[in-house]
Amino acid sequence: MSKQELLFFFSAFLFCSGLLIAVTKKNAIVVLMGIELMLNAANLNLALFNFQKRGMDGQLLALFIIIVAVCEAAVGIAIILKSYHFYHSSVLDQISDLKEKN
């Protein structure tokens, strides 16, 4: 198993763990962390591609992803704060307004 292969597997693992965190955790901030993890997994992949090939495309793409991730994190935290104020909880279980009423 070469270094690249290992990193690919690692990034896949990272993505899946991020997903698992995002799916299983009840606390909104931890969910946000999971999402950050997934993004980082993608970044890792991009960096890896950049390493394999000539040019700066992968790096720059990763850079933009980081920017977007920052925005997402900032806005996400703001929303979480807001919803905490609204529901007095940051537990996603209790925030189920999307469900159709029956």
């Binding site: 698992l20 009840k26 994190a73 807001k82």
Partner: protein
Amino acid sequence: MMQEVILYLFIGFSIMSVLVILLNRNVFYSALALLTCLISLSGIYGLLQAEFLAVTQLLIYAGGVLVLMIFGIMLTNRIAGKSFESKSHNWIPGILVTTSLLVVLVITFQNSSIKATQNELNTGNHIRNVGIELMSTYAAPFEVSGVLLLVCLIGAALTASSFKKSSHE
């Protein structure tokens, strides 16, 4: 050789920290574990000759996002007592889905041609190249991302401020 050892170390650190996030219940610990994970990732970036990315990762994630998250945790959970706890659910379907996703990804990677590519060593001043590329080829996304940041800043500020205001009432 030294590089590989360091790489394995970083990978090990990240995996451990990810597992900590997954398995522990304390939100605060999760945040700290995430910090470890991100730092080790920035190390990996460095090893992959993406110095600028590594630095950015350190600055933004470790310095910015994480602090933001810790603030968030502070604001949404009572500091005293056991309220940092985060419950979890959906374990079985979650593991099923993620495992299958992992399997799919691995198989895909095995069948793909990516692993066969030769490792060409990039030479030259990477950071300088990044700057040139950003200002020439990626000028438009760069501008857009600036706008995005601005919008995001305003949005976050607005949301937060209205929160404060209404909470004050």
